[in-house]
């Protein structure tokens, strides 16, 4: 082949390839994708029901149906015990949306379209996670407001309350990376959903989310005590209503960092390979 240069008519101008410019575009592209995802969320009432109303319903059911039968010894009683648990569960449930949306986009071919464009390749994943984090923040806000209406109170001051929400968002991001990986690896919407239920339900129910672990059979306690959701939820509960902070704090930080590192990397790899 000769090295004849080719003149190409009517093309987009070449983007700057300097690192800062690329980083700036990566952020701009991620925000574009994020705002589109949030727009889609707002336009789908059924989806809002599933993501916001359902956690609220869970909280009211546990508060009024099981609450009277469950004895906990913390300030404010069961509703104060429950809210951090519901928030922990919501972090996991919200991530269903991450996995399902990625699998749908793969099947529909819209990820192919986006990847054939000169945009930052990270933007689809980062924008998806960003949108899901905003969605989770809205849901947590609604849960706390509902909680206040049915007797929940932060007993430990404003800063720990803010830290509790921050921890919830960090956990939500970590779990969303797990889900993003499953969505990109499994690729089929129904299978992704079925698989999600298999790991999300045991992890959130066999934990300190809804009832004290002491009431479970011994063999189950061993798992429940040491699995990350118990650690996250115990830490959130301590931040919200008081209790031992430090041990669960560094354990939570390690778990979040570990899950983010491993599954963030796996999700990015799966995305590059689709």
């Amino acid at each position: 082949m000769s090295t004849a240069t080719v003149s190409v008519p009517a093309v987009a101008p070449p983007a700057e390839d300097r690192p800062w410019t690329r980083l700036r575009w990566a952020v701009v592209d991620a925000v574009t994708i994020m705002s589109r995802n949030l727009l889609l969320w707002r336009r789908t009432p059924a989806y809002i029901m599933f993501t916001v109303i359902q956690p609220m319903m869970f909280m009211l059911l546990f508060r009024y149906v099981f609450g009277g039968a469950i004895n906990v010894h913390i300030p404010g009683g069961y509703v104060n015990y429950l809210l951090p648990g519901i928030i922990g569960q919501t972090c996991a449930f919200t991530s269903f949306g991450t996995a399902i949306a990625l699998a749908q986009e793969l099947q529909k071919g819209s990820i192919d379209r986006l990847r054939s464009m000169p945009m930052a390749r990270s933007a689809v994943l980062v924008g998806r996670l960003g949108a899901d984090l905003v969605r989770l923040a809205v849901t947590i806000g609604v849960l706390i407001a509902t909680g206040y209406a049915v007797g929940f109170r932060f007993e430990n001051g404003a800063v720990p309350a803010v830290l509790m929400v921050a921890l919830a968002l960090a956990v939500g991001l970590a779990v969303a990376c797990v889900s993003a990986f499953t969505g990109l690896a499994i690729k089929d919407e129904e299978s992704v959903q079925a698989f999600g239920f298999i790991w999300v339900f045991p992890l959130t129910f066999v934990s300190s989310a809804f009832v004290p672990i002491a009431g479970m059979p011994g063999w189950l306690q061993a798992f429940a005590k040491n699995q990350p959701f118990t650690i996250f939820i115990d830490e959130m509960r301590s931040l919200a209503v008081g209790g031992p902070l430090l041990l669960h704090a560094w354990q939570s930080a390690l778990w979040v960092a570990g899950i983010l590192g491993v599954f963030g990397w796996l999700a990015a790899r799966a995305y590059r390979r689709v």
Partner: protein
């Protein structure tokens, strides 16, 4: 590479595990022309398009789009290509206009330019009226047009259309065809995959036929048809006893023998590209042989005939069995390799 080559593909290989989706394909596309990549489901068409649009890395070989190598300079390639896939990659909850503006923003076009371009494309693709309705309310044909419009937002120099009309009703297909022709009139280079022979025949300047990951034929529609033996003269002889006489009478028109279908009484002979001269000759020969014939016709072979002759099997899965006469010369047995699924193709 010639200076007017827009797409150059050399020795492209790609396997998915044990499935060899591409087994060394070569072709090139002249700037401003349409290449039709024709093949059945699982032939490797989508795999080839995914490599050319930088979505997949080839195992071996190279592909160059307007002087930019898809492996060495994928970012440069992405700036000059557009892709519309088999399914409409649009968001049903967003309006047509929002879908197009969103794509413009990802190409980093300024906001006013995004809006202007969305408006232009909606008008051009006859979606002006529907532009502010959610895309999920569009018909199948409208969704494909919107998807095609989305691939054109940044005015790509080279456009890839992967089965642009699969699943469309006949009217929408013809609508898509006219849209596609207009694009090329405007100077865009286009690579189009299809499993519809009439589509390649209708649109493509050059055609490559792919089967089981290899290019088995390439050329213009006419050149491919010539490979099957050119035009066919056919007629019916009602008197079963005279069919052999009739076949013998016209055998001088061709190097080969006339074929006789005893069940229908149809006699056919391939006459190359001699056209109407051969037709007149046939009438004269049959008349002097004193054979009574009905329904004397001359027709060009369709690309269906070509595909059958080249591969020994029909072009589309579940196609109606080709009439006996089509199993003429040039046909050969299907290849021995097992028909594995093509991991790169998504069936309709």
């Amino acid at each position: 590479m010639r200076s007017d080559t827009a797409i150059l593909v050399e020795g492209l290989h790609k396997s998915f595990g044990d499935v060899r989706a591409l087994r060394g394909i070569d072709f090139d596309v002249r700037r401003g022309s349409i290449l039709g990549v024709l093949g059945p489901n699982g032939a490797g068409k989508t795999t080839a398009v995914r490599i050319l649009t930088t979505l997949l890395q080839p195992d071996a070989g190279r592909a160059v789009i307007e002087g930019r190598d898809v492996v060495a300079a994928p970012a440069d390639v992405r700036r000059i290509i557009g892709l519309a896939g088999q399914s409409a990659a649009i968001e049903g909850e967003l309006t047509g206009r929002e879908n197009l503006e969103f794509v413009g923003r990802l190409y980093h076009l300024p906001r006013p330019r995004c809006r202007a371009r969305a408006g232009e494309l909606l008008e051009r693709f006859d979606l002006g009226q529907a532009g502010d309705r959610p895309a999920k309310t569009y018909s199948g044909g409208m969704q494909r047009r919107l998807d095609l419009a989305a691939s054109l937002v940044a005015e790509p120099a080279v456009l890839f259309l992967d089965e642009p009309t699969t699943g469309l009703d006949p009217r929408s297909r013809i609508g898509m065809w006219s849209v596609i022709r207009d694009l090329v009139d405007a100077g865009t280079t286009l690579l189009l995959t299809t499993q519809y022979l009439d589509e390649a025949d209708e649109l493509a300047d050059q055609i490559v036929v792919i089967d089981q990951g290899q290019v088995i034929a390439a050329g213009t529609s006419d050149q491919l048809k010539d490979r099957v033996g050119g035009d066919v003269i056919e007629f019916t002889v009602p008197d079963a006893g005279r069919r052999a006489d009739a076949a013998r009478a016209v055998s001088g028109l061709s190097d080969g023998d006339a074929s006789i279908d005893e069940s229908t009484g149809r006699v056919g002979i391939r006459i190359g590209r001699r056209g109407s001269e051969a037709l007149i000759e046939a009438v004269r020969l049959l008349d002097s042989a004193g054979v009574e014939v009905h329904g004397l016709t001359m027709h060009r072979p369709s690309l269906d005939d070509v595909f059958l002759a080249l591969t020994g099997h029909a072009a589309t899965d579940g196609a109606t069995p080709a009439p006996g006469r089509r199993r003429g010369r040039g046909g050969r047995a299907p290849r021995g390799s097992p028909p594995g699924p093509d991991a790169g193709e998504v069936g309709p």
